[in-house]
Amino acid sequence: MRDRGPANRAFFLSAVILVAFVAPQAAFAHILQGEQGGFGAGFAHPLTGPDHFLAMFAVGLWGAQMGGRSVWTLPVTFPLIMVLGGVAGMLGLPFVGVEIGIAVSILALGAAIAFGWHPVEWAALCLIAFFALCHGYAHGAELPLSTDPADYAIGFVLATGMIHIFGIGVGLALHKPMGGRLARGLGALIALGGIYFLGAAVLSA
């Protein structure tokens, strides 16, 4: 019998971390208002904003599940396109339904992982790029309000990248054991989170 201990531990650890991040602070997602801080506030925001955390984690997890070049092309594309959304947010350009787009990103990425969907790379990148625009816009709109926008941006992007790497690590650890079902289970949990955020976004719209 194969030893499934490490994979199971990785799955439960990831599930616990997801729930711990998401559950208590779900109500605080993307409602930053007023003056923000510098590097510390920027670094903490993706880690304490559960919608952002879940989406970033799912990007890494999905890339690892797809394998090949996608392990790095998805997490590399996300911040680069996020910058475009960020600039649009800073300029105050109109972007309707950003919160719904963010919630849909969590739902879609979770569902893609749960169903083991492996599209061609360009299709996955287009999907990631659209979601990155939504996330970037939301954060770009907040940036000029921070006391030190530059340090806020540095902390924010660093934390985002670390969540990607965490997602890749978990995805690679759960890729082979039990035929990848553990990774799919995490994807289902993420999709459930997406449904919650979508409901909240629709109700508040």
Binding site: V76, V83, A150
Partner: protein, 244 residues
């Protein structure tokens, strides 16, 4: 367990040279920036608030990673060009800063030296190994120039060379420590990590640059403060409504 030999074997020296250099540097910085030495010189303040800020360290960390992932000859050439870039930045800082002064709020973002260095190093980290080898020396030169300019524009002493020497030493120390450590403990996943790091650096550079050039929005006004003193001010108003 193999007995320790002295002098150390070249392989062990190579493997642990980076971590040892890192420990030495941390100890030296701690001696300078922690009391009682910190109280005697503005150098300690400058190191903490300029040389060791995330804006300054991130491009240097990225450059160290890029140097670690290229062949030894290219890495040495790029390191040499990084040093030449530093010298060039100090010598030609007036000419290099002149076009940057035309940007809005130039002094508040250190003439965009941080964003330019971040984007340059990020561009060196993302491409495949062959392309990286081709562009790394030039981008290392740009990073060196930006380090020198950042030291010049943040140096509060104007003429005292101590800050410049400290800034260059810390910059070189970061690059060399990261390069030696990652080379000695190389893992296949470093290639994936380096590309993700490169995308972070480009994103940071673009966002930082964009934010720095953007006019600051005023925060939303606070809600009006309710009148907490419902009692009339008896001392200052005359009771004119009362009958005489």
């Amino acid at each position: 367990m193999a007995p320790l030999s002295f002098p150390p074997e070249p392989a062990r020296l190579y493997r642990f040279g980076g971590p040892a250099l890192a420990a030495l540097g941390v100890a030296a910085i701690a001696l300078i920036v922690l009391p009682p030495a910190a109280a005697e010189s503005p150098l300690a303040w400058w190191i903490v608030n300029s040389a060791l800020t995330p804006e300054r360290l991130l491009p240097l960390l990225g450059l160290g990673v890029a140097l670690a992932l290229t062949g030894p000859r290219i890495a040495l050439a790029a390191l040499l060009l990084f040093c030449i870039g530093i010298v060039f930045g100090f010598v030609a800082h007036k000419e290099l800063l002149e076009p940057l002064t035309k940007m809005p709020q130039a002094a508040t973002h250190h003439f965009l030296t941080g964003p330019i260095a971040s984007i340059a190093v990020g561009l060196a980290l993302i491409p495949p190994a062959r392309w990286r080898a081709a562009v790394l020396p030039l981008l290392a030169f740009i990073a060196g120039c930006m380090l020198a300019l950042a030291i010049v524009v943040t140096d509060p002493s104007l003429d005292d060379p101590t800050n410049r020497i400290a800034g260059v030493t810390i910059g070189l120390w970061v690059v060399v420590v990261v390069m030696l450590t990652l080379r000695a403990f190389h893992r296949p996943w470093f290639a994936v990590f380096s590309r993700i790091l490169g995308s972070w650096l480009i994103a940071i550079g673009l966002l930082y640059g964009g934010v720095a050039l953007m006019p600051r929005k005023a925060p939303p006004p606070p809600p009006p403060i309710p009148d907490l003193n419902p009692l009339p001010d008896f001392d200052r108003s005359r009771p004119q409504t009362l009958p005489q």
